[in-house]
């Protein structure tokens, strides 16, 4: 059941170029791996969609890449400051899978630690732009890491059940290798509750709201 509450920042930790923002959970349900939350971005009009990274007892943790004004404001939050959190939203990963393999690229590793915990620490293949970005691999147990120019698809065994999150070219490459994969997509999103029609993506030839049909979609 989704809720909206003002929650306090418990801690802020640097993970390579990213920030792990840990919030006090309050009455918010952490939801299923791959679901997301709208986080109030201080000083900005619109909240930002973030998938849950970790759900330690009493906390919700989000891995954030400071790429724009909203994410920078989130990464600058100090312990004790409060932001509104709305969620969980959307549809997460289907967990009844055999031989799972988690695949992540860049900030797309964000939902994988929580997913890994739910699946009992399956193998993971992670790709990053630089060694600095690859420091985020510490969050995902049992992970093999490649750094550009290497590609994460080199590590994908198509016989596995692939659960992936990452940039679009990576997801398209995974889709080609593993048509049975579950892919977590990203889109600009104003509301997260199906109202703004901003986050549409093409699904089977139709534009669909990612927050309603996703963000996790079957590859084929």
């Amino acid at each position: 059941m989704r809720r909206r509450e003002a929650r306090s920042v418990v801690a802020r930790e640097s993970v390579g170029p990213y920030t792990l923002l840990r919030l006090d959970r309050g009455g918010i349900d952490p939801g299923a791996p791959g679901q997301f939350f709208m986080l109030e971005a201080p000083g900005r009009l619109l909240p930002r969609p973030m998938s849950l990274c970790l759900a330690p007892p009493g906390e919700l943790a989000f891995l954030i890449d400071p790429v724009g004004p909203g994410t920078r404001a989130l990464c600058a939050l100090e312990p004790g400051e409060r932001i509104h959190v709305f969620g969980p939203l959307g549809n997460g990963f289907r967990l009844e899978v055999e031989r799972p393999l988690l695949v992540g690229g860049g900030i797309g590793v964000a939902p994988l630690p929580y997913l890994s915990a739910a699946l009992g620490g399956p193998p993971a293949a992670l790709g990053f732009r630089t060694a600095h970005h690859a420091e985020a691999a510490v969050l995902v147990p049992n992970a093999q890491v490649v750094i550009e120019p290497g590609l994460v698809t080199e590590l994908v065994d198509p016989a596995c059940s692939v659960l992936a999150c990452g940039p679009e070219p990576m997801l398209e490459a995974v889709r080609a290798l593993a048509p049975g994969a579950q892919l977590a997509w990203e889109a600009p999103m104003a509301c997260g509750h199906g109202s703004c029609y901003g986050c549409v993506v093409e699904v089977e030839g139709q534009l669909e709201r990612l927050c309603v049909v996703g963000p996790v979609l079957a590859a084929a």
Partner: protein, 286 residues
């Protein structure tokens, strides 16, 4: 005073908990034929608002009547349907089909799409055609970008509109700071959010003096004080748009803030009044 959503800013089927906080739910604009809408990117945040380029995505009137309307009726909220089209006959045809549906309380005519916003005659012609097609209350939603909004208001009033909805978005453009290319797939989109409020106040203020019709005021309402400002310049009702993206519990919050803000100033917000009552000065002294 009724609290509504601005058309296109709320899907009551995916966010029923928001719709339940409102007095009236207004649908996304329905056009005669289905429209997939514009290609992404469709939204962009700016310093004082946001741009959208959705492009009237909707299932078309046939599927709306067969599939969407029964599901909306199950919410048991007063329901206004926003009607769009590309000429007067299209609007009127949709109004005629909605006329016999008891689930629908009123129709809002979206007269603010680029094809119809140029001339007062165009808006009035559409209202007159719809008036002949339905006995349901007709609310004419006007663009604040018109050079003479009050003249259009007079024209649609004379053509049989029962109320005005003011305002729709205005055109804007945002650039990606890195590439200096437009963010939106269509380059230009509709600008909404806090920056729209003074524009909405000006339009409501001018139209409230020009015509004797109730007005749904909207544009940049984030707080109860914003809603009070719209009532103070002549709005009868208030609608919430962009704020619903930021805060799904805005209707309950704005309502409480409005009551408190009015009381602080020695005004009372009138309880709901009949839709056609000419309440141009709703914030009366206690």
């Amino acid at each position: 005073m009724k609290l509504l959503n601005a058309s296109g800013c709320l899907d009551a089927l995916t966010a029923p908990e928001i719709a339940q906080q409102l007095d009236v739910f207004v649908t996304k604009t329905v056009t005669p034929l289905p429209r997939e809408g514009n290609p992404p990117v469709r939204i962009a945040e700016t310093e004082a608002g946001m741009l959208n380029s959705i492009g009237l995505a909707n299932p078309g009137i046939d599927r709306f009547l067969a599939e969407t309307l029964p599901r909306l009726a199950a919410l048991e909220k007063p329901l206004w349907v926003s009607v769009g089209g590309f000429d007067a006959a299209q609007y009127a045809a949709s109004c005629a089909r909605l006329d016999g549906r008891p689930e629908v309380e009123a129709l809002e005519l979206n007269l603010s799409c680029p094809n119809v916003e140029e001339a007062a005659e165009g808006a009035a012609e559409i209202v007159a055609a719809c008036r002949a097609a339905t006995s349901k209350p007709l609310w004419a939603k006007l663009s604040p970008a018109l050079p003479q909004v009050p003249e259009v208001a007079r024209a649609v009033a004379a053509a049989g509109a029962d109320g005005l909805s003011l305002v729709n978005t205005i055109r804007g453009l945002a650039l990606d700071p890195g590439t200096l290319r437009p963010v939106l797939g269509t380059a230009v989109g509709g600008y909404s959010g806090p920056a729209l409020k003074p524009i909405a106040l000006a339009a409501v203020y001018a139209c409230a003096q020009a015509v004797d019709l109730p007005i749904v005021g909207m544009g940049g309402v984030m707080t109860g004080e914003d809603a009070l400002d719209l009532l103070a310049v002549g709005a009868t009702h208030v609608a919430l748009g962009t704020v619903l993206f930021r805060d799904p519990f805005a209707p309950a919050r704005v309502r409480a803030e409005l009551t408190a803000a009015a009381a602080e100033r020695g005004f009372e917000v009138p309880a709901d009044s009949p839709p056609a009552a000419p309440t141009l000065n709703p914030a009366s002294r206690v």
